[in-house]
């Protein structure tokens, strides 16, 4: 089975490389993709430019490169934003949330996609309906509950909220990755005496690794960028996440865009690194999945 997959993958590449028509069309692909890439990246280049300007220069020259490079913006933003603390905290929030979400969501999605126990349709409906409720409607009752349970101001309290908030999307996404898997492999494993957990971890998980990585990425980003809940449920500065650093650059009405831009670059940087690292795994996961098909 493995050998067949490898051959097919290689054959595919060779065939594409040989075809003249295909390669001409790829020029079109690259042209369009380059254009869209510029659309996605140029605004960020401007953000980077702004992070090196004075406040006054951003007002007068918000698009172009800086007249004079103010690297101190980064030092000031790092200190004023207390990034040394908030970065560390956010890493904890992100890592724990992703881990818990993938384990718990993976279990639930597996059950819903592959086992479909009675009541699963109802459960899906529940998660769907729950994702239609605006946060502003229940944030005050939620706070009251959490205070009673002693979860306000606690790191694990906020993580619990993040896990719950991301649950519907996680379950649905993972489920959609699992639902079309061929059943034969699982059945074979069961015949060999594997229990459900083993079927999930040994058969389904490797096949849906890209799905898990994607969901982990989405959940992690959501947590990294979240601020409404963090501001409401965490007020000890030593537990504050990275987004709260953003608010350190505002006074009552206005925002210091020079420091904000530098702060934004600081916040984006680790995410970019993480994403690029994850990309590599992503590709490996895809290749692995392809071989096993």
């Amino acid at each position: 089975m493995t050998a067949f997959g490898k051959v097919s993958l290689r054959g595919n590449i060779l065939q594409r490389g040989r075809s003249k028509e295909r390669s001409r069309l790829l020029v079109f692909n690259h042209a369009v993709l380059l254009l869209l890439t510029a659309f996605a990246v140029l605004p960020l280049l401007i953000l980077f430019f702004n992070s090196l300007k004075t406040k006054a220069e951003i007002g007068a020259n918000p698009l172009g490169p800086p007249n004079q490079i103010i690297a101190e913006n980064y030092i000031n933003a790092w200190e004023q934003g207390n990034f040394a603390t908030t970065m560390r905290n956010s890493v904890i929030y992100v890592v724990v949330t992703i881990a818990a979400e993938l384990v718990l969501g993976g279990l639930a999605a597996y059950a819903l996609a592959r086992k479909k126990p009675p009541g699963s349709d109802l459960l899906m409906l529940y998660f769907l309906v729950a994702s239609t409720i605006p946060l502003w409607m229940y944030i005050v009752p939620l706070y009251t509950q959490f205070r009673i349970w002693g979860l306000v101001g606690e790191v694990h309290g906020l993580i619990i909220i993040y896990i719950a908030g991301n649950a519907p999307l996680t379950i649905f996404l993972l489920r959609s990755y699992m639902i079309d898997l061929p059943r034969e492999l699982e059945d074979a494993a069961r015949v060999d005496g594997a229990n459900e957990l083993q079927v999930l971890t040994r058969i389904v998980l490797p096949l849906t690794k890209p799905g898990f990585l994607t969901v982990g990425l989405v959940v992690g980003l959501g947590v990294w960028n979240e601020f409404t809940l963090a501001l409401t449920f965490i007020y000890d500065p030593s537990r504050a996440p990275v987004t709260t650093s953003f608010f350190k650059f505002t006074d009552r009405f206005a925002r210091d865009w020079a420091l904000t831009s530098a702060g934004a670059v600081i916040i984006i940087f680790p995410v970019m690194v993480l994403f690029l690292a994850l990309q590599r795994q992503f590709i490996e996961g895809l290749a692995e999945g392809g071989i096993k098909t």
């Binding site: 993709l33 996605a40 990246v41 951003i58 086992k115 239609t132 459900e196 934004a264 994403f275």
Partner: protein, 316 residues
């Protein structure tokens, strides 16, 4: 074949409990799956469902949004919202415009781009990273960047007029009643569509290459390949995201709040921004909660459509 299960049903409950095959099946197909679901479900119930039910109760009261002294007033909030509040219809219309935008523009863009990317072997990773970058930005940053870019004085429009002499693009997109809402949608989409594209791409990559090979052997052209292999391959995620985006359209809040707070003159007001203003600025928490319930009801209609389709055998 058909008579055997009938016999089993006829036997008593106790017999079933002692029936080892039945117990095995029950454990394997009901008990264990539900044990798998339970942890996440219970967290979710405590964090979302219970407070939300309290919120629904508040919508039937004159709750101010800060206090605990509430008086039950029945459906009065709903009556005011649906029959007396003139701004509600306008906000709802804006939600539908938002939905129309997000069900077309990002989907077409993401589908198109994911298809192009899936055919590329070299440099695909670089493109993917670059195109996804906007999604990693926090909303405060995204809105800040684009507010500058769309500025009529110093933004892209002004730069175009200065450099190329092309006039007409240097308008205050966010400051005009006619363009404000769509400009916000554009900005939100700049951030969002890359995410959709990655989801589609991951699904496309999971399509077994054999299927493409088979299509090629059958002499399929690119469009046919897309139509008969790619599209069915990504259908579950596509339809799911279609539904989620439709639901999210009723919840739209962040970008609008950060960019215009519903202005100018209410031209970009949506239900969620109204909810926020009522609950937290006007001290009409009960009324705001009623708006929240109405949001859920509208989103519920979307769900109903999809549930109906599912019943008809669509695999969503």
């Amino acid at each position: 074949m058909a008579t055997i299960p009938q016999k089993k049903i006829a036997t008593g409950f106790l017999d079933r409990l002692t029936d080892e095959t039945w117990r095995y099946k029950f454990t394997r197909n009901v008990l264990i799956p539900w044990l798998f679901i339970l942890p996440l479900l219970s967290i979710h119930v405590f964090v979302v469902a219970i407070p939300a039910v309290q919120g629904i109760y508040m919508s039937l009261t004159d709750w101010s949004g800060v206090g605990r002294n509430v008086e039950f007033i029945g459906l009065a909030n709903y009556q005011e919202l649906l029959f007396e509040d003139e701004t509600f219809g306008k906000s709802l219309t804006n939600n539908f415009i938002w939905m129309a935008f997000f069900l077309t523009v990002p989907f077409i863009l993401a589908l198109f781009c994911a298809t192009l990317l899936s055919q590329i072997k070299r440099g695909g990773m670089a493109y993917r990273s670059m195109l996804f970058i906007p999604y990693v930005l926090a909303s405060v940053v995204t809105t800040a960047i684009w507010r500058n870019l769309l500025s009529p004085r110093k933004g892209i429009g002004a730069a175009m007029a200065n450099l190329t002499g092309i006039e007409g693009f240097d308008i205050a997109y966010l400051g005009r009643s006619e363009t404000a809402l769509l400009s916000i949608a554009f900005i939100d989409n700049w951030h969002f569509w890359g995410f959709l594209m990655i989801l589609f791409l991951a699904a496309m990559q999971a399509i077994p290459p054999v299927l493409y090979d088979a299509a090629k052997i059958d002499g399929a052209n690119r469009w046919q390949e897309f139509r008969h292999v790619t599209l069915p391959g990504i259908r579950p995620i596509f339809l799911f995201m279609f539904m989620m985006v439709a639901i999210w359209s009723f919840l739209a809040f962040d970008y609008i709040w950060l960019l215009t707070q519903g202005g100018p003159g209410g031209s970009s007001e949506v239900i969620a921004t109204q909810l926020y203003k009522n609950a937290f600025l006007r001290f009409e928490g009960g009324y705001g909660a009623a708006q929240g319930v109405v949001i859920s009801i509208f989103a519920g209609f979307i769900i109903m459509i999809f549930v109906t389709l599912r019943r008809r055998g669509w695999d969503i």
